[in-house]
């Protein structure tokens, strides 16, 4: 091959290499940026007075005197809106029946939209579900709801041969000629005074329990559940994995049996996680009956089996990479095999073993499928350490799925879902980061 072609080949190879790294970087950005941006929105956002009221009533947070003052200030403007409603209600009574009927059917949606915006109207029966007791707690959501109050979405069915298109009709125009017409510009111009928006940092998202199935409040039970499950899985899998790796590298003789074991281990690493989930249900819960229902224990055991192959592989590699001379030197000084393993080989292999362990820990924290049938519930309070043997727990991975697909108000609480995703990604990232630090620390110490 002449020099020219070699150069071209070389250059094009570097171009492809740089290109694929760039693609990876862009993909990462596309995935990570919305997660971080929207996820931070669960903690950093512009809250309304409804949020402060909710925090005070549900969690006892906030300053009562300050809150009363703000409620009074907001109340002045709300009262004006309420009086517009009652004036219109009185006006409707005087209308002739047909016209009254027509306006009544239009008035209902206005009331509903206003309730969504600033909470229950005077004269409403107090709702038993917390979600109906407050208006919009987030300012950006309030602006969306304002649009729903001001405009009615209609569908143009005039062309029977095609699907209809959506269009918006101003509600003010619909109430032309009545006293209610003034309500719409009034609410539009004074919404900030009715809701008293203020930028806030809601750390409670990480430390509070959820209120009314995640519609308000935070995700502490999920974070804690994830922590318990991942740590529980490590408690089972890590010692077992390391012992198995020692057996494979130091004790097992090469032969049919060992190679079978090794390939079994590799196969296990490739089994889809849902299979582990079903196995966990069938074996740990229905056969062994480790707990009466789904539980953290059953979930941890299932996750442990899932991450075991990875831990074994990592530990095996780490042990094999310890220079043979260490072992030979130790044995030649009269040390026993067991003693050599414990005092020479394992400490030297520790960084690699730990890295494998922590990466598996991250995987255990992020998996959904193995815990669906063995540990995860969609709603439950934070459990104490005493309950891990018998209680199921909410967990981040499962609840993200639940909020995305099954929750009845999924579209209203996207911020909670993003917040959970960011929390999970951060936990996994932190675990991996600590693995890197730990490894560097130990390597440095070993080098003396």
């Amino acid at each position: 091959m002449n020099l020219g072609t070699r150069k071209i080949l070389d250059r094009s190879f570097s171009a492809v290499g740089i290109g694929s790294i760039a693609v990876m970087g862009i993909a990462l950005l596309i995935v990570i940026v919305p997660i971080v941006y929207n996820g931070l929105g669960a903690v950093f956002f512009t809250e309304t007075i409804e949020h402060r009221n909710m925090l005070y009533n549900e969690f006892g947070k906030g300053d009562k005197a300050e809150l009363d003052k703000e409620n009074a200030a907001a109340g002045i403007y709300r009262k004006e809106a309420y009086s517009m409603l009652s004036r219109f209600e009185a006006e409707m009574e005087t209308m002739e029946p047909v016209r009254q009927q027509e306006f009544r059917s239009k008035y209902g949606p206005v009331q509903t939209a206003l309730r969504h915006l600033i909470g229950p109207l005077p004269g409403d029966e107090e709702a038993i579900l917390t979600r109906y007791r407050y208006g919009q707690t987030r300012w950006e959501k309030a602006e969306e709801k304002l649009h729903e109050l001001l405009y009615e979405a209609k569908w143009d069915y005039s062309d029977p041969n095609s699907m209809a298109k959506e269009y918006f009709v101003s509600r003010a125009a619909e109430f032309e000629g009545t006293s209610l017409v003034r309500l719409f510009p009034y609410v539009e111009n004074n919404l900030d005074k009715m809701l008293q928006p203020r930028f806030t940092v809601y750390w409670g998202f990480l430390t509070d329990s959820s209120v009314d199935s995640h519609i308000f409040g935070g995700v502490w039970p999920e974070i804690q559940g994830t922590f318990f499950l991942a740590v529980g899985a490590m408690l089972f899998a890590f010692p077992l994995g390391v012992i198995a790796a020692i057996y494979f590298t130091e004790y097992a003789r090469d032969g049919f049996f060992t190679s079978m074991l090794r390939s079994a281990n590799s196969t296990l690493a490739g089994v889809p996680s849902i299979v582990f989930g079903l196995f966990g249900l069938a074996f740990f819960i229905n056969t062994l009956k480790v707990s009466e229902s789904k539980s953290v224990l059953a979930g941890s055991l299932t996750l442990a089996i899932m991450i075991l192959p990875t831990i074994i592989r990592a530990a095996e590699e780490a042990i094999l990479s310890v220079p043979k001379t260490y072992k030979e030197a130790s044995l030649s000084l009269g040390s026993t095999k067991w003693n050599t393993i414990m005092t020479v080989i394992l400490p030297a292999a520790l960084p690699g073993i730990l890295t494998g362990g922590v990466i598996s820990l991250g995987r255990a924290a992020g998996e959904t499928a193995p815990i669906i049938f063995t540990a995860a519930v969609s709603v439950g309070s934070a459990i104490g350490i005493a309950d891990v043997l018998s209680s199921p727990t909410p967990a981040l991975s499962w609840n993200i799925y639940n909020l995305a697909s099954e929750h009845e108000a999924a579209a209203e609480i996207r911020h909670v879902q993003y917040g959970m995703v960011l929390a999970l990604v951060s936990i996994v990232l932190l675990l991996n980061l600590s693995a890197i630090l730990l490894r560097a620390r130990i390597s440095k110490k070993l080098k003396g």
């Binding site: 709702a127 038993i128 579900l129 109906y132 979405a153 569908w155 069915y157 062309d159 029977p160 041969n161 095609s162 699907m163 209809a164 298109k165 959506e166 209120v211 009314d212 199935s213 804690q224 922590f227 819960i285 229905n286 009466e292 229902s293 789904k294 669906i372 049938f373 995860a376 519930v377 969609s378 709603v379 439950g380 309070s381 934070a382 459990i383 104490g384 350490i385 005493a386 309950d387 043997l389 018998s390 209680s391 199921p392 727990t393 639940n402 995305a404 697909s405 099954e406 929750h407 009845e408 999924a410 579209a411 620390r441 130990i442 110490k445």
Partner: protein, 273 residues
Amino acid sequence: MMKTMKNILLLALLSLVFSVPVHAAAGNTIVLDGSTTVGPLAKSFAAYFTKKYGVKVTVSESGSGNGAKSLINNTCDIASMSRAMKPQELEAARKKGVTLVQHIVALDGIAMVVHPGNPVRNLTKTQLRDIYSGRVTNWNQVGGPNAKIVVIQRESNSGTQEAFKELVMGKTAPISRTAETQASNGAIKNRIASTRSAIGFLGLGFVDRSVKPVAVNGILPSKATVKSGTYTVSRPLYFYTAGMPSGKLKTFIDLAGTPDGKRMISELGFIVR
């Protein structure tokens, strides 16, 4: 160096473990498993019950079929179901020596929903059967625009699916194999809100502005029409227990009959029986 780090790690771990409040002894919980349709109700009951009686209640939404299995295998206390137990399930329970007791919590309509842009307002049960069995494949055959119908059903584990088959399809017509399957009420709602020519079915409590319910045999689904029985695609929602419930379990089941329970049912869009 190593030692101090170990200590710090240990301390961090211990403090994490003990900062967690330890309440409620093991066993003092109620475990619910089952339907995603009953999910909102179960979750609200759970939150209310925990607040009022201090008993922890956990809720899983894995589908009616799984709820039934869990109850028969004795891994949950209450199976929340959007259909009645099937003969096979009753048989399986009998073999295990479990007596299943049925409690009706609320009524629920199964709303047939389409995209809000779809001009079709009314379908007869025969038309629905034709659409779901694949005999009718275009909206213009049932009075709509020229568009291919995207038929959406629930997974086989779903109680809503079973109820739909029983109430609409009858015994004769199987659902077409080209029908798309979605795994929860929320997923169906999302799919239909984003697909102009789709049709699917939802528990009445899940219907919101993003989808349009169509009338069945001229009757629109609503609390009033379901309660009066004029809207016929409706079914009761159940809590099943193994044996007659007692103690806190009974209090939980009886919630549905209390004034607060009835208000929760109605606020969530279900119908008080």
